[in-house]
Symmetry: C2
Subunit: 450 residues, 2 copies
């Protein structure tokens, strides 16, 4: 029997620890992937790729190279993408990335690749097609710029949770396999569940609403599944949805205020904790101090007048209109985000609360970010009889929704919520134009692997 006492400090150091200045002149050990090897004859550079960034190592004279399972070797035997542990002296160097380099004494190769990488991983920009990047996903993501996008994505999710914990929300985990889904319809993946027909959830809508009766404020960050036959730059068939739902609201404005608070919190988090990745990608953070909110019908009219574009479908926003609305918001209000409120009732699900002043519209909104919808939200019906009436009006049956409806039957506060598409938010933050660029392993109509 041995006792495990918790995390011990590793012998090898991370980039952050090397950059404090305290290690200058000292002998250290560092592990990492061999990013590149450049042998200039009398001097050679081995660039290591660490999780924190790249690290320049210099071999000036005879450096001991040992390869696991093969014994002592030469620098020419050190392959790119090998896993290495090196030892040497930390030396300030103005020309090196981050201002330091390691003067190597020893290189131990822990694991060797079986073949050279099929993509130029170590290049600053790979200049590789999206198709090739996706076909070699575990390799293309090793590129420093490629992976930086997903560090920022982490920040967006992390900020969501941290902010909402602070606002009294409880995190929930709801099932993805179910008998029925919130929006219903044709866009459901279907499967057999122990001889019963089942679907994959399009959204945690029903569950988060039921949980408002339990915790008042809840959130979930989880995958959702949509069998939409879209093959566009902005659709995925599986994506990560950041959802929250909150009770005791005085109106849907409370929801927009909460989302604005989230964005403010998160941009500060990206500013503070993800600086290296922002710099790597050259990203300017969007303005979030105040976000304009404008009615659906009004902004349609404004955009139509300003840019001379005819309104073709008065009850819908076309992608091109979303672009123009964002352009308008940027030009008139210097805004990167814009809330579009009061969507037409016929375009919203049955649980959306209609505007009592004009039931053609709902107490709901979308959030547009640099030309694209990244959030849909709104107040929900909380009265049991009102909910039943709306379902009947739409010709819906209560079958399979008994439990959802029971939450209302036995009392529910006024409430509402929203869902944010994580990959879209990332895409617009980092300035990509295809959602697959900001999805680790995208699922679309033709892509089920890796």
């Amino acid at each position: 029997m041995e006792l495990v006492k918790g995390v011990r400090k590793t012998e090898t150091l991370e980039l952050e620890e090397l950059l404090t200045g305290e290690m200058n002149g000292k002998r250290v050990k560092v592990s990492g992937a061999v990013h590149t090897v450049r042998d200039m004859g009398n001097v050679a550079f081995v660039i290591l790729r660490k999780r924190g960034g790249i690290l320049q190592c210099v071999c000036e004279k005879g450096v001991l190279v040992q390869i696991k399972g093969r014994g002592t070797a030469g620098l020419k035997d050190v392959k790119e993408e090998a896993a290495a542990e090196v030892a040497g002296i930390v030396t300030p160097s103005e020309k090196a990335p981050h201002g330091i380099e390691i003067r190597l004494e020893e290189i131990r190769i822990l694991s060797e690749p079986a073949a050279p990488a099929p993509l130029p991983v170590s290049k600053w920009k790979m200049n590789t097609s999206l198709e090739a990047k996706l076909n070699y996903r575990p390799i293309s993501l090793r590129n420093v710029r490629e992976r930086a996008k997903f560090r920022l994505q982490e920040g967006l999710v992390r900020g969501f949770r941290e902010f909402l914990y602070g606002e009294g929300f409880t995190e929930i985990h709801t099932p993805k396999i179910g008998a029925k889904s919130a929006e219903g319809g044709a866009n459901l993946f279907r499967l057999e569940y122990f001889h019963h027909p089942a679907v994959l959830q399009q959204s945690p809508q029903f569950y988060k609403q039921m949980m408002v009766g339990v915790f008042e404020r809840v959130f979930e960050t989880a995958p959702v599944f949509r069998a939409e036959k879209h093959n566009t730059k902005r659709h995925l068939n599986e994506y990560t949805s950041l959802d929250f739902e909150m009770g005791y609201i005085s109106g849907f404005e409370d929801l927009m205020a909460m989302e604005t608070g989230y964005l403010q919190y998160t941009m500060k988090l990206l500013e503070k904790e993800y600086g290296r990745e922002r710099k790597t990608l050259g990203i300017e953070l969007p303005r979030t101090d105040e976000i304009p909110a404008v009615r659906f019908d009004e902004i349609k009219r404004l955009v139509s007048e300003t840019y001379g574009r005819k309104i073709r479908s008065p009850y819908d926003l076309e992608p091109e209109e979303e672009v123009l609305i964002s352009r308008y918001a940027k030009e008139k209000w210097d805004a990167d985000f814009v809330f579009v409120t009061h969507y037409p009732s016929k375009k919203r699900p049955f649980y959306a609360m209609d505007d009592p002043e004009d039931p053609t519209y709902t107490l709901s909104f979308d959030l547009l970010f640099r030309g694209m919808e990244v959030t849909t939200g709104g107040q929900r019906i909380h009265d049991y009889h009102e909910l039943l009436a709306k379902m009947e009006k739409r010709g819906m049956t209560a079958e399979g929704m008994e439990q959802y409806l029971s939450a209302f039957k036995y009392g529910m506060p006024p409430h509402g919520g929203l869902g944010i598409g994580l990959e879209r938010l990332t895409m617009k933050l980092v300035g990509e134009d295809n959602i697959r660029e900001t999805t680790l392993f995208p699922r679309d109509m033709s892509r089920l692997e890796p």
Copy 2:
């Protein structure tokens, strides 16, 4: 156009704000569900259920009651489970929960239930069967003790992420629909994905390993799906898995150390931030300062000798043996957790690294907690040729695994990881004996709703 500037302070106060002492004697507004109404004639108590706990409100004389849509009413019209907003004076009271009560001036009912709740939600212990609790899930969860379990569950996930962020891990989101899954076999849910056969992932195993080549250390907290035909107290067909995978390890001991660190961090978090829920459930936190680790063959022998139980299957742990191992660990070492190491190779998946000193066993482990396995982990094979050889030995084909294998072909560091079953960890923490008790909406062979 209006400008949304972020979260505004609500007019109503939360329990935490009422308990600082600063509000004593002041008039406040509070919203919440009507938990119970007890009319004693000259005085009546309205107990509100807030997200933070219950709050006693006292009506001593004529209190103004207003019901939305119905106008002025009497106290007898206030129904349990209605959503209310009350106003009154904060008054210290030794007999009240948390030491304060609100002397009511006004009750506004925001929303009324359509029928009385089918379960005694407001009772301290509902004394209701698990079956009934699951059949009325959105209602039974409103019980203060029922919901407290899921607050602690939040703490377990939150601690996992916070601790791992601090240890240099990156959070990832990997697809749940795929062409192939890590363990393969019969336990897969199958579906049609745009005319292609697809499965739901049993674990993020392949993805997190691929991502070790990108970020060195990664984690994911997400649902996994297992079509196992088990109908036991410890199995679910969909559950939340807390997974991590880390590169540049010196052995599988690093993984156990990291998990111990997680448990230490998280028990402190539960201590500090979830005190009310711990008290509500009367929970004693487990010891995590040191966790014994003992070999599989050794502990089997020890348990067999100590408790006089014959070893029936030398290469497997039966549930009863898990209970005895935990009993042994408690009795001999005063340990709530125990690592069992070096599981037999034939019981582990192909990617597990065999022990070079005896390839009958692997460099892997399970973590047992109060009689039940809550974690499986271990070092993985990182060498491409070794991985191919092991697959061949098991008669496996590489079909559908090309991308997974490519990560190894193009270089992977020594690495390993683990997966923790969130619902099981919660179950053992709160002392439940059925995993459905610690799952919001369980999925088992007969339960697909709600």
